[in-house]
Amino acid sequence: MGKWTRRAFVTTGILAGGVLAVGVAIRPGNRKLKVAGLVAGEDETLINLWLKLGPDNIVTAIVPHAEMGQGVHTTLAMMLADEMDADWSLVRVLEAPAHPEYANYALAKGYALGDQSFPSWLLPTVDGFFLQATKMMNLQITGGSTSTPTTGLHAMRVAGAAAKAVLLQAAATAWVVPLSELRAHNSVIHHDASNRSAPYAEFALGAAELDAPVLPRLKSTEEFGIMGTNVQKFDIPAKVDGSAQFGIDASLPGMKYATVMAAPVFGTQLETVDTAAIQDMPGVRRIVNLGDAVAVVADGYWQAKQALDRLPVQFTASDAGKREQSDIFQQFSADLDDAIAQGREETDLNKGDARAAIAKADRIVEAEYRVPYLAHAAMEPMNCTAWVHDGVCELWLGTQNPLGFAADVAKAIDFDQENVLVHNQYLGGGFGRRAFSDYAIQAARIAVDSPYPVKLIWSREEDMRHDHYRQASISRFKAALNDAGMPVAWENQFVNKHDPVEAPYIPYGIDNQFIHFAESKTHVPWGFWRSVDHSLHAFFTESFIDEVAVAAGKDPYRYRRDLLSGATRFRDVLDLAASKSEWDRKLAENWGRGIAIHKSFGTIVAQVAEVEVIDGKVRVQRVVCAVDAGFAIHPDGMKAQMESGIAYGLTAALYGDISIGRGAVVQSNFHDYEMLRMNEAPAIETYILNSGEAIGGAGEPGTPAIAPALANAIFDATGKRIRELPVKLHDLRVPGHSAKDVA
């Protein structure tokens, strides 16, 4: 991955005012002018906001998204290069600087307007409107599995196709031949009639003078040359030899190191700090009181940590400091009860009359589920290097939202946003955590009074205890069955609704549905966590439909299938997972299998988990995953994201449990917040179905279905229904079953 240089950022003004306007031949007033100095090197031509072309015919895709292992740089470059008919071996990628011109207006447009197409005469207006709107919202976000569906479609493909169009036009002018006689292939333009050919680079300056078409023709799937292939990912070589630069690897002359401890109970403050106790410890430079946290700055991280561990600190008391996890679940239950008793349910979805159908049904199935808080536990603990000098605050870190961070930091240290420069590095895991700017604000506040750059590194303990957590929740269900055992009504009530809206919705054809919720606030900070609300609701809904199937005496796969007769896209994915898993094959003693299906971020995923339970210990042996994201741009990357989403979801389902004790997070490190490890990782088979529907996301949709697939498999193996996660809380030993029986 290329990186724009600090020099380039700092010297933009000079370049934009002089050299570039002449050297790159972009007319004044062109939007490209403002950013050319940031992204274009010597002799390179910025063809449009997203693409530059070098004299060596190297095409560089400028990608406004952070690479955190999801392969976004590669996937988006593929989309651009394919439309451009570029020679893939000459394609590079550069992460866009945190600049308002690179705000993902495509993302905002995707959110606000779905996948609507616009007439060409309207598009400049629509784009202009959304660019303004996204600038104001500081949206340069990587999250919501939106990069490929939105930026990829609305920016990268359009940019590639438009670039090809203007290059062809420039060639037609230069050679004085009709445009229709030219063809482009592998970054070369050919005029077969005169047997002439020349690389794209020859026409770069001419192309940059032209107005690119706003709505160039995009390729149909059959015309794809690069999309749909398994090219090697750009970021991998640097990740096998230690050279990849993550936020924590930033290095500046004279840099000092800081570490921090925030008040353990969320919302409380420092009361007393006895700085005298540690100020003479080796290497200690400063002790900084941040109000709700205290930081020690020292010559090295270890010295800072040693001193912080010995710092006598007292925190203010609060009612939250008396709260236990059981209190929180009791509060949720009480708020759910009250909502119904007082008739103030917040309606999420209501069709037919579920309550009337349930009231007159002979057969009702009921269940209540709960899930705990979860931390992200990205492998790279939160960190940020800040350097305040000459009226600017420069930040080196990994973030999913560089512009938003710049805005937050500017506000915290009272700087103009344009004087906060974010240098985004590789992210050592994001999963939603690196969309929250708390660690960057801390670093900037420490650095603002420091004569040297400060690298703030959170300990793992701090990372786990001051996360923004996937919410704990309770969800209650009632289903009414008809004489044939099929559900005629579905009522679901849960606490605390966040995003996305559709997370609790089911794909099944049930006439009467009432889905409602109650808000029940706690003092625990909420955060986006891989797949967000889908991570809990898929567990709830896909566990419950399994219970309903069992109550009806039906096979869980075929029962779902019958309910999907009106949703053929879902049914096809379900069928693929079932057939590849050989659903009807008899399993060995102590084994079980479970199925689940869930759509999130435009992508449908069905998974079959096979487990073996010996002496109460669950071992997930195999996961079969079927996925329909419309079209997989990078099939191996899609598989990698399914493998990753499954491991992330399995870790949470088996072990993940952040609990509150005396108002603070009890867990602190990987010994008590356990991770799936190599010896527990199942074999995963992923099968891709390209339905041709609108392209969906990849980074998150692998996660939601695995928890219910696992729980349903455990039920199949043991007869025990997991209604509360994580699985480790449950005694799964079955009387009479033991390791000896297996032998």
């Binding site: 991998i236 230690g242 993550f246 492998m379 990782a681």
Partner: protein
């Protein structure tokens, strides 16, 4: 002064002898390929080799490594000097995602293959279960180790025949 040999080069560091090797490597020697993950020997992001054997550098005081040979990921290979068979296999299998844990994974894998040229799945489990990957690249790490083992065996056979 603490004397160490890092990637074959003799180095001296003016640090507290209790300082973990991890921070000497990263902050004093400027070799940032070795990562901080947990600080309590739970995750394996900090694995380096001490005299060829894998250690958790986050809990190993520099005093314990004094006068000895440390190898970090930077000493294993790169595109210019040539990649180790494990690194090549990691690229071929497209193992890394976020990549943060992969230096430690590769150091553990190389140590495994040094003492066991053809590990079984169970032996891979034992050797690699101390390295956490939050992106869940375990199936590809397993394939990568097997591919590297085959490549190393093929090279040995070629040189044996030649």
């Amino acid at each position: 002064m603490m004397k160490l040999k890092i990637n074959g080069e003799p180095r001296e560091f003016d640090v507290d002898p209790a300082t973990p090797v991890l921070w000497v490597i990263r902050e004093q020697a400027g070799l940032t390929g070795t990562k901080f993950g947990c600080g309590i020997a739970q995750c394996g992001a900090c694995v380096v080799h001490l005299n060829g054997s894998p250690i958790r550098s986050c809990v190993t005081p520099v005093k314990a490594a004094e006068g000895q040979e440390i190898t970090t990921i930077e000493g294993i290979g790169n595109a210019n000097r040539g990649l180790h068979a494990v690194q090549q296999a990691w690229i071929a299998e497209q193992v890394p995602q976020c990549g943060y844990c992969q230096s430690g994974q590769i150091m553990s894998a190389i140590a495994l293959l040094r003492r066991n040229a053809s590990p079984t799945d169970a032996e891979i489990d034992t050797a690699m279960s101390g390295n956490i990957c939050r992106c869940g690249t375990y199936p590809r790490i397993r394939q990568g180790i097997k591919a590297a083992a085959r490549a190393i065996a093929a090279t040995a056979e070629d040189s044996g025949n030649g």
